[in-house]
Symmetry: C2
Subunit: 362 residues, 2 copies
């Protein structure tokens, strides 16, 4: 499989859905990826099964507040700088890059870096969606050390982190990203081909591409049809009646109110945000929560509306896709479930919550 001008737009559509509202706008990322493959040629996407056991894989992502990336563009050489730094640190050549998160612009920027480094991209990721913090990756769940980590900014500033666990990396790398102007790029949790199948979510890139293709192919009753084909759910159709959003400690935090319209008239739901959409609440009850994937769509165009684009008055359809299975385990929920984000409730899968709700209102 290759990422080129024919596959990238669908991949970006899928990545936008999996971004759960965060991970930065994929529009900027898509433009950068299209330019990179035009300049350097298509990027090969390889399967975890193609990796030799000792192959070094570098998971890469942007780190910071996604609203800042709308104005602060990266430097395409950042991928080259991170690769060089990690190869020097580990004393051996890299075999492939991987997108640490397949959601939002962090699904696209690694295409730019793969094109510039000449490395293939692994058909896998560490989230199966987007999450806001460094330790929220399957590599951490599976015991892969967070360091060595390379961090670079767009000016060429470089840092190496050593002997640090994922939560300390999150603290210190986040602080540096803020000091660098709110955004930086990292390679962290490097792993080998032998570890790849267990420590990643294999097939994430293919899945994003598949989601994008389903969207592209669907022309009638688009949102409902797409959710049906993907096993997703429509949570509410409505109008945004309030947006509270601020950039704090390197994150976008806030919440959004949606007033139901049409069949949903009279309903009011609140979406809570830390870069990504974390939870949807209605009448004091949870309608959906992390790790399930809650994404806001423009009711007219079905385009994803990212956190930083939310505005009063927008007509939106809020949808939810089930989380990857790995996050629905006890260990997974400890890392990325509601309590990991400070909520005082346990996770219930979105399909069960919806069934309860229908049962209750029947």
């Amino acid at each position: 499989m290759f990422m080129d001008e024919t596959t990238l737009p669908d991949y970006a559509r899928g990545a936008a859905i999996l971004g759960a509202g965060g991970g930065g706008s994929t529009r900027v990322g898509l433009l950068a990826a299209l330019q990179a493959v035009e300049e350097f040629g298509p990027v090969e996407v390889i399967s975890v099964d193609d990796l030799p056991d000792d192959a070094l894989v570098l998971p890469a992502a942007g780190l910071g507040s996604p609203d800042i990336t709308l104005e602060k563009l990266g430097n395409p050489e950042q991928g080259v700088w991170m690769r060089t730094a990690m190869e020097k640190e580990l004393g051996r050549p890299a075999h492939a890059l991987m997108a640490s998160e397949v959601g939002g612009s962090n699904a696209l920027t690694p295409i730019v870096w793969a094109a510039h480094t000449g490395l293939p991209l692994l058909d896998a990721d560490g989230m199966g969606r987007a999450f806001p913090e460094v330790q929220m990756v399957t590599m951490h769940l599976k015991g892969i050390p967070a360091t060595p980590t390379a961090l670079v900014d767009e000016r060429g500033h470089q840092m190496i982190f050593r002997d640090m666990d994922a939560r300390w990396l999150e603290r210190s790398a986040r602080a540096v990203a803020v000091a660098f102007g709110g955004f930086a790029c990292t390679v962290d949790h490097p792993f080998t081909g032998a570890q790849a199948r267990d420590c990643t979510i294999p097939g994430s890139v293919s899945r994003a591409l598949h989601i994008g293709r389903v969207i592209s192919e669907t022309t009638h009753d688009r949102v409902a049809t797409v959710m049906d084909r993907l096993g997703g759910h429509v949570l509410i159709t409505g109008k945004i009646s309030d947006v509270e959003r601020r950039t704090v400690d390197g994150f976008v935090r806030g919440n959004v109110l949606i007033d139901g319209v049409g069949e949903d008239r009279g309903r009011l739901v609140r979406v809570e945000i830390q870069n990504e959409n974390l939870a949807v609440l209605e009448d004091g009850r949870v309608l959906a929560s992390v790790p399930d994937i809650m994404t806001m769509l423009d009711s007219q165009t079905s385009d994803v509306i990212f956190t930083e684009e939310l505005r009063y008055g927008q007509r939106v359809t809020l949808v939810a896709l089930p989380s990857p299975d790995v996050w629905r385990t006890d260990a997974g929920l400890e890392l990325v479930g509601p309590r990991a984000f400070g909520y005082d409730f346990d996770y219930t899968p979105v399909e069960e919550l919806l069934a309860q709700r229908e049962g209750g209102s029947a």
Copy 2:
């Protein structure tokens, strides 16, 4: 010259004076240094003239808010970690350590690190006193690059900074120090024997030791006699009537009011602080300012009172020592003069300000 249990107490006394109120209490640093030389033997202090041209010198210091170091003790292995990281980074062995600043506890902790690494300490420093920020060193003034830099915390977390100028290093290393709990240790601005004479203040360690010996030898009319012998000045003798002090962005900031007593009755001066004492103001006029060295002494014991120890009601004598000559140049003042700290006035040497004041009041 050696640092051992006979020289260290005097060295610490001198370093306390040169700390300008900041750099952390030397009492904690002295205890750690005494323990280290007891365990590993005396630390040799070598002259810049003893250095081979290609000798690698590692300037080391703590970075953060000095009040935090009173409770958050370092790990003596930090010196070993920084040395190992810098030798790996630069691909050659270190010849000596240097205290980046000879003022306050940062004059003492490098003794601990020298003892643990077995490296000698250079009789020089980068400030001739204490200053609060990373770029405020003679190495930066003389064009030595700030990076590579090694930063470690007491847990063993390690970071390498590359391709960054001193001001970006200050921003990002400060942010990391805050994320690590308010304090970290760094080796930055590494230089060679050939550069040592020009890029440091040679003889700083000897000078601190000399100051301490003068204090030790003086028994009568101590403060006045010591200032006389060292070419310093008494600015005011009084009582602290107000202390405002807070920890902000990894610094201690604040100001202190001193009400004159005895011959100084009726006078009121304000001391402004960013870790170190930055300026002394009286009746809207400057009485002394950076880079001159303003230090608060206990009027009874002549002991230095550090910023974090200031309390309402203390009887204090505020003294000033002239700045090292290198900071009184145009380039030096641009880096560490009043305007570098945000003040809207030019530097006048403390001896001229005092002469003007006496002329005005005569």
